[in-house]
């Protein structure tokens, strides 16, 4: 598998670590939203939005959209936004 890092270009999977579904972090006290954030996940047959870390590369966190059926990578962007 290969991912295209916005900084480094297309690289082998071994440079990246999967971090999990890219969800919005709730604020404040414990709530159903927190429970969902920590413990509940959709299981889409289709586009999935995820965080990957380019740990053996430039150390950027990436937001990756990936089709779980075809494994096509639909988009990759820097989590911190903007250009380098």
């Amino acid at each position: 598998m290969r991912l295209t890092c916005p900084n480094c270009g297309e690289r082998d999977l071994r440079e990246f670590t999967y971090r999990g579904a890219a969800l919005d972090r709730p604020e404040g006290a414990w709530s159903p939203a927190w429970d969902a954030y920590l413990h509940q996940r959709d299981n889409p047959a289709g586009a999935s939005r995820e965080h990957w870390w380019h740990g053996f590369g430039c150390s950027a966190f990436l937001v990756v959209e990936r089709d779980t059926r075809t494994h096509d990578i639909l988009s990759v962007s820097l989590a911190s936004g903007g250009r380098q």
Binding site: N7, E10, R11, E15, H54, G57, S59, A60, S80, Q84
Partner: protein, 184 residues
């Protein structure tokens, strides 16, 4: 307070390590290295770097060179200034840390250099994709690394100081293996 001296040591004995089939592995001396992290915008850093050191801020994956030193793109919002002491005003526009001791640098050069590196590193080393002066943060056999192409057949490799010996071992094995194929 009694007279005290401290001696400095490279992680690896300096100089040539091994040569086979015209390809050599050479340990390079330590140099002054300073990390520079400007945060979200790099314009101020670019200005000071040019004013104080005559160095252009390199683009992503690039090197810039001047009479005194070099500047490498070194990662996400990160640059490495090599070979000069950082001007004081740089600390106004970037977070600086000394990295001179943290890394070990080795030169791999010769006709088998690409083949050897291909055994250790998943980077696309083709000249059109990794030109002279290009810099990549990547992996060398499970070690975080920085690879720079310094010539058609030459690569400067950096890994953490603590793993220097591992890097040498891996390079040595790779070179012996590749050289053995020449005699097949």
């Amino acid at each position: 307070m009694a007279d005290v001296t401290l001696s400095a040591q490279n992680a690896l004995p300096q100089g040539d390590v091994i040569e086979r089939a015209g390809t050599a592995i050479r340990v390079l001396p330590m140099q002054q290295m300073t990390s520079m992290m400007p945060g979200a915008g790099a314009d101020a850093l670019a200005t000071v770097l040019m004013d104080e050191h005559g160095l252009a801020l390199p683009g992503v994956g690039q090197t810039s060179t001047s009479a005194g030193g070099r500047c490498l793109w070194f990662g996400h919002r990160q640059y490495l200034l090599i070979g000069v002491s950082p001007a004081h005003s740089l600390s106004d526009v970037a977070a600086l840390t000394d990295q001179s001791d943290g890394w070990s640098t080795v030169l791999l050069e010769g006709p088998l250099a690409r083949d050897v590196l291909a055994r250790l590193c998943p980077l696309d080393l083709r000249a059109a994709h990794f030109a002279q002066g290009a810099v990549a943060r990547t992996e060398i056999r499970h070690m975080m690394a920085c690879v720079t192409r310094v010539s058609e057949d030459g690569f400067r490799l950096m890994v953490f100081r603590s793993m220097a010996e591992t890097l040498l071992d891996e390079l040595r094995h790779g070179l012996l293996s590749c050289a053995a194929r020449e005699n097949l």
